[in-house]
């Protein structure tokens, strides 16, 4: 039943996402920590969005009082307050979930939020929950229940003496000093990172979530630990993945996310824990510096019968041969050539969409979706015997835990191929023929258009990087096959089906209708007109056009050198000939399944670009990476 749209207020009150206070607090703490650790030089994964921020220039004026001065005049926030504490105060209690206490003159005193801690004063958490302290250097320390520590001043910074239990330290960037964490048997020194320290009777354990720490046991040599790695001082301590070790944290979700960011492609632990005393000598176990390659626990590789290659289900691309599906910890690849598998294992996108992605690397495969991966045909993989490109294999692999897509279709598949196919490869870069798209000497023959000149019904029209590409409505989500075809005259974009699994139809305005004056659908489609191919674009940039020309031109790189960033509606018709060996999948109307025989052959793509659009393709060269197979053998038995 549809909601009552007559009461938009009610609908917004009920359904507009609203963050909880706890959510805001946790996110703020995490981000502030990362900002403190930022040294101003490194790129961040979010930097791509920065240029997109458009903040209108304000027109209002007010009394000039800098925000800095104003901020100093208002109530002082906790973080700033720490700086102004008396000299012997080293930490502030910022959150208490249970009971935090200290002993004063033989009596136990409960510490509420906001309490100061003096140097060397032990505090402990009791009950089933923990507490959070903020140190004078800006670091924060999350204490697990039943933990005890003292914060001390050191000659060159601060030290946390962990008597028992576990802590997770978000160490602030240390400008002039150091932060140490000491247990009975190890000292951990850091300069800006997130890590876990656990002190038990049997020994101590240190695990790194972000950054790097140095661990020293007694007078022995220091060992460096990176994200995902753990060490302990006693090999008898129970081995558990770091994710499990930090599960008690109030910020567990964020920590796991950070951990995943840094350890993608690595094991969650450094394998069996190695005693710190053994590291550096190689004796007594695995070195803490070594990172085990994540592997599937079980894998079946079977050759496909070339006479019975499974086809994709009707109405869907993907699902038949050359398709792949991953769910957490599981991978199912159906009748793929080894070359195609290698291509994806080394980070390249689907072979038939190679030209769409800069450098051939796509956005990465996601869990649950079924992908048709195309067939690697020499665009990225070279070398090896012919069967690498002709024989098909079905692979079913299961990981020990819920591995993510990037790990599985990356280091885990690579490890599997190395083990079962004895695969060895290297990467080569070559300068290959390419094209530059320029404006012809006759000048551009198309005019920029505004958004309202494009039919974006049924789509969310984007002004993003692809300049005019269409985005599907979010209701077109996972689990829905997509059918794409030209629209009949006057036919509108149908509403997406509400039933999961029902195919979604996407209509592109037919080139004949566009020529008659109808608005082209936003984005770009390749349509068929007898022996000719017709590129129809709505509100597209020349940069997007250049990338799309790479397809008919056989996958070579086409670089936009026009310097023009306007958007255009385009109908470009050219004959399919030896100049355009690219994929021949072209949209055609269901009522015109056969190619009309009376359509004359059009211009070549070069002539068409110049005469129809005022654009020109000029020869150029561009670098291209190849995966070269050095060694491969047919797979060993399951």
């Amino acid at each position: 039943m549809k909601p009552d749209l007559n009461d938009i207020d009610e609908l917004l009150e009920q359904h507009l996402p609203s963050a909880s206070a706890q959510q805001v607090e946790n996110a703020g703490m995490r981000v502030l920590h990362r900002l403190r650790s930022h040294d101003g030089s490194e790129a961040t994964e979010f930097e791509g969005h920065l240029d997109a921020i458009e903040v209108p220039v304000r027109t209002w004026r007010r009394t000039v009082m800098t925000w800095a001065a104003a901020a100093a005049a208002v109530a002082i926030a906790i973080g700033v307050a720490v700086l102004w504490r008396p000299a012997n105060h080293v930490a502030l209690v910022t959150a208490v979930d249970a009971t935090l206490s200290r002993d004063v003159d033989g009596k136990t005193e409960t510490l509420p939020q906001g309490s100061d801690l003096e140097t060397g004063q032990p505090v402990r958490t009791t009950g089933d929950a923990g507490a959070v302290l903020q140190l004078a250097d800006g670091s924060s320390v999350e204490m697990r229940s039943r933990s005890e520590l003292a914060v001390e001043k050191e000659v060159d910074g601060l030290g946390i003496r962990l008597h028992q239990g576990s802590i997770i330290v978000h160490a602030a960037k240390q400008r002039n000093g150091h932060l140490y964490v000491k247990t009975r048997d190890v000292t951990v020194s850091v300069v800006g990172t997130v890590f876990l320290v656990n002190a038990e009777k049997e020994g101590s354990r240190v695990g790194v979530i972000e950054g790097e720490v140095r661990v020293r046991e007694g007078d022995k040599k220091e060992t460096s630990l990176k994200p995902g790695q753990q060490v302990s001082t006693n090999a008898s301590l129970v081995t558990r993945p770091l994710k499990e070790e930090i599960a008690w944290s109030r910020n567990n979700d964020a920590l796991v996310r950070i951990l995943d960011t840094f350890t993608r492609g690595m094991a969650q632990t450094a394998g069996p824990l190695a005693p710190v005393r053994d590291q550096g000598t190689g004796a007594g176990g695995q070195s803490a510096g070594a990172v085990a390659t994540p592997q599937f626990e079980e894998a079946s590789i079977r050759a496909c019968d070339p006479d019975n290659v499974p086809e994709a289900p009707a109405g869907a691309r993907g699902g038949g041969a050359n398709s792949l599906q991953m769910t957490p910890g599981r991978l199912h690849a159906l009748c793929l050539t080894l070359a195609t598998i290698v291509r994806h294992a080394y980070g390249y996108g689907p072979a038939n969409l190679d030209f769409l992605n800069p450098g051939g690397r796509g956005p990465g495969l996601q869990l649950s979706n079924v992908y048709g991966l195309g067939v690697e045909d020499g665009k990225r993989v070279r070398g090896g015997p012919d069967w690498v490109r002709s024989d098909h294999y079905t692979i079913d692999a299961v990981a020990a835990d819920a591995a993510d897509a990037a790990s599985m279709m990356g280091p885990m598949v690579r490890a599997l191929l190395e083990k079962r196919f004895q695969l060895k490869v290297h990467i080569e870069t070559e300068q290959l023929p390419a094209w530059n798209l320029t404006i012809a000497s006759s000048g551009l023959k198309i005019k920029p258009v505004k958004t309202d000149a494009v039919d974006s019904s049924g789509f969310v029209h984007t002004t993003g990087r692809d300049g005019g590409a269409c985005e599907l409505q979010p209701t077109v989500g996972r689990g829905q096959p997509v059918i794409v075809r030209p629209a009949q005259p006057g036919e509108r974009q149908p509403s997406p089906p509400s039933t999961p699994g029902q195919p979604v139809t996407i209509l592109f305005r037919h080139f004949a209708d566009v020529r008659r004056g109808e608005k082209p659908t936003c984005g770009m489609s390749m349509q068929r007109n007898g022996p000719n191919q017709v590129l129809v674009a709505g509100g597209t940039t020349l940069e997007a056009l250049a990338r799309s020309l790479a397809s008919p031109l056989g996958g070579v790189v086409v670089t936009d050198k026009t310097g023009n960033t306007d958007k255009f509606n385009i109908v470009l018709e050219f004959v399919r000939d030896e100049n355009t060996p690219g994929p021949s999948f072209l949209l055609q109307r269901p009522d015109q399944p056969d190619q009309p025989s009376d359509v004359p052959r059009g211009q070549t793509i070069f002539t068409a670009l110049e005469e129809q659009l005022g654009l020109k393709l000029e020869p150029a060269r561009a670098p291209r990476d190849f995966i070269v197979i050095d060694r491969v053998e047919r797979p060993t038995a399951n």
Binding site: D39, F46, R58, G138, G318, T475
Partner: protein, 179 residues
């Protein structure tokens, strides 16, 4: 706890004040981003990105209205993220498309909320700014007008039109579901 290592127009004085600025406004930024994106990871990304940018370079006119600047940045960046994460239709081929797998995945979300977020993503940034201030932050028309540097009348009219636009968008975006 200094973060003054990053050069800025405000120089060394920025560090402590920056933390205070963050503490004063991070809730506004995060809540705004969460309401627009509907996703806590995206909201956190927005929060980090905006303050990271301030760390690197403080806009010349920032001190005129820090709160207004941060709020507008939160709305704009959130809209950019929402719009850019939608699946795009490739130019041709479309081989890389999802097929039916797990119906639960498609029904896990609240369809009304999803439709609402989709509709908000199609509004103009100015309309979203006003909408979120009104419905998420409970600002009055007068408070919104003061923050965005316009008149109460403009806010009232924009809110009225935004509701009408939302109604139209929602009637298309929210599918019929079983009661």
């Amino acid at each position: 706890m200094s973060i003054a290592a990053v050069p800025s127009p405000a120089g060394e004085a920025l560090a402590n004040d920056f933390e205070e600025l963050f503490r004063d406004h991070h809730s506004l930024v995060y809540r705004t981003a969460y309401s627009v994106t509907g996703n806590r990871h995206d909201a956190e990304d927005v929060l980090q990105t905006i303050f990271l940018r301030l760390l690197r370079r403080l806009p010349n006119d920032f001190d005129r209205n820090p709160k207004g600047y941060l709020y507008r940045a939160a709305v704009n960046l959130s809209l950019n993220i929402v719009r850019s994460r939608k699946r795009e239709a490739p130019a041709d081929g479309l081989e890389c498309l999802p097929a039916p797998v797990d119906p639960a995945l498609a029904t896990a979300d609240d369809p009304i909320r999803r439709g609402l977020l989709d509709a908000i993503a199609q509004l103009k940034p100015r309309a979203v700014e006003i909408l979120i201030l009104h419905y998420e932050h409970d600002y009055s028309d007068a408070q919104i007008a003061q923050m965005l540097g316009t008149t109460r009348g403009t806010i009232a009219v924009t809110l009225y039109r935004t509701r009408a636009r939302l109604k139209k968008l929602l009637s298309r975006a929210i599918p019929e579901t079983q009661s």
